[in-house]
């Protein structure tokens, strides 16, 4: 088993998904940071490392330090989209192991819903200063159709069906209905007919970009969160049991001539993380996988080795991803981006719910959960993205 030298000791998920313009992202970050530090039994003055995805703009390593009123000596503004927080956890562990810091603070805040920012179907404007934009923006690709192209290719190569992809949505909703915060999120965002869903519900919902239906697409919420990561000496004195970071992996993927859209950068990051942790996928109790869309999860389950490439469709059939079923890890037990929380960059919630499970605090608690993986996918599955894999273990 991997060394236990850095642990998640404090967590907080902002409970409101519709702040109605009365709170800004910086305030959400600060509120979450204070609550996560309090959860750990720590305070602002204990923080000596700050991690920020720069969602607030450039120079955020400085901006956020001043706003919080802290004086960190490790400043890391790795911004790689929704997986940034898995990268931050990996980097924080490395910095702690090197002795450069003892208490690292990760925060996220967004008012994507209040801003009415059409993340999924906004499309892109004309031209641009990047060569990629200049070659692609004329085609009117939306974020949903980007992922849909990956789903279409998966169906073509492996016979995967919409009914199989819908298993991801129904398992996630099953967990969301057990979480009061997730149910309130769906109410506040005016979901219609809030209840457990069936495969038929998913495949008969409106098509957004073939072959992805509405109920295979994540919500756009407001929200945020914070995570505190500490050295083993600090962790031993914290208020809650430590959740150890056992392994990490990072990778990128981008379009290449003849490349595959049926696998993701998780093919690289997963084995590195599992190898470092000394853990195999079959031992994992909790799979927190970035569910921007159904296809994201199916692809990554295969890439991480829970089943073989192309076998994901039949493997997820029958509900094995539910917290109270055996035969597979419990998937996104907080309700996921599909049914609980997606303000644009969901990666921090993957760490938070994994930590809840390994502390025994989830609303869909898996009895005796000992090992979890948090896998963030940043950018777009169907073109260019980053992958961050973090294997976590209970105390």
């Amino acid at each position: 088993m991997s060394d236990r030298d850095a642990a998640i000791v404090g967590i907080y998920e902002y409970p409101d998904r519709d702040v109605d313009g009365e709170v800004n992202p910086l305030q959400i970050k600060a509120a979450c940071a204070a609550k996560a530090l309090a959860d750990a039994g720590l305070s602002w003055s204990d923080v000596d490392a700050i991690y920020d995805a720069s969602e607030g703009g450039p120079m955020n390593g400085l901006t956020i330090s001043e706003y919080f009123g802290i004086s960190p000596t490790v400043i890391d503004t790795t911004g790689v989209g929704g997986s940034s927080y898995e990268f931050h956890a990996a980097h924080a562990r490395r910095a702690i192991r090197e002795g450069k810091c003892k208490v690292a603070l990760l925060t996220y805040g967004s008012t994507a819903h209040s801003n009415a920012f059409a993340i999924g179907v906004g499309g892109r404007g004309g031209g641009g200063t990047s060569p990629v934009d200049n070659m692609e923006s004329f085609a009117g690709q939306t974020l949903v159709s980007n992922y849909a192209m990956a789903a279409r290719r998966h169906m073509f190569e492996f016979g995967t069906t919409s009914e199989q992809l819908a298993e991801i949505s129904t398992a996630t909703r099953y967990h969301a209905m057990r979480s009061p915060d997730a149910v309130r999120a769906m109410e506040d965002l005016e979901f219609i007919d809030i209840r457990e869903t069936t495969i038929e519900d998913v495949v008969s919902s409106r098509m957004i970009a073939d072959p992805l239906h509405l109920l295979e697409c994540c919500m756009i919420s407001d929200g945020g969160g914070a995570v505190v990561i500490a050295s083993s000496e600090v962790a031993r004195d914290c208020a809650k049991p430590p959740v150890w970071i056992l392994g990490s992996g990072e990778a990128t993927q981008y379009p290449t001539n003849g490349g595959s859209l049926t696998s993701s950068a998780a093919v690289q990051s997963g084995p590195i993380a599992f190898g470092e942790a000394g853990v195999s996928p079959s031992e994992i109790d909790i799979a927190m996988i970035y569910d921007s869309f159904s296809i994201t999860v199916l692809t990554i389950l295969e890439d991480l080795g829970f089943c073989g490439k192309g076998e994901g469709g039949s493997w997820v059939e029958g509900g094995r991803l539910r917290y109270d079923e055996s035969g597979g890890p419990a998937l996104n037990t907080d309700g996921g981006g599909l049914s609980s929380n997606h303000p644009g960059m969901r990666g921090i919630f993957l760490l938070i719910e994994a930590a809840r499970q390994l502390r025994g605090e989830s609303t869909s608690q898996v009895d005796g959960a000992k090992l979890a993986i948090a896998h963030g996918n940043g950018g777009m599955l169907g073109s260019r993205h980053t992958a961050g894999s973090i294997v976590l273990g209970g105390d």
């Binding site: 179907v121 031209g127 060569p131 070659m135 159709s145 409106r206 379009p255 290449t256």
Partner: protein, 137 residues
């Protein structure tokens, strides 16, 4: 009064990596790069070879035929131009020479689309550039 109807977003012709490609479109040429040193096909266009560090990129012209690697049908878009186009087809096309490019499939319906379909580039003409779309062969 000028026509205010929204138009397709067009490329920025001063972007340095891709300017030569877009100049070629005025002659209905789909230009791509190949390295004279290591034969790597480089796409999208750029100034360096991704296959070797002694790169010597040369421009080639595609015959314009290829195959649909994957596609989607966009049913919902908030973009001022594309919202007027729904449903429309976006696809990745593998040209026979190697480059895989993102485009729209025209001259067919969503129901008739298939992965693996043979397609041919067709040019949508604008004042300063022509846009490479594709239609089934």
């Amino acid at each position: 009064m000028a026509d205010r109807s929204p138009t397709r977003p067009l490329p920025n012709l001063s972007e340095l990596d891709t300017a030569e490609f877009w100049r070629g479109t005025q002659a209905n040429e789909f230009r791509y790069q190949q390295c004279a040193n290591c034969d790597t096909i480089v796409w999208h266009p750029r100034a360096h070879c991704t296959g070797c560090v002694n790169g010597d990129l040369e421009w080639r012209v595609s015959a314009g035929a290829g195959v649909v690697y994957t596609f989607s049908v966009v049913r919902q878009s908030y973009h001022p131009f594309f919202r007027s186009q729904v449903p429309y087809i976006v696809a990745l096309v593998d040209l026979d020479e190697g480059p895989r490019f993102l485009t729209n499939i025209t001259g067919t319906t969503p129901e008739e689309m298939d992965v693996g379909m043979r397609v041919q580039i067709v040019w949508e003409e604008h004042e300063e550039v022509h846009i490479p779309l594709a239609k089934p062969m």
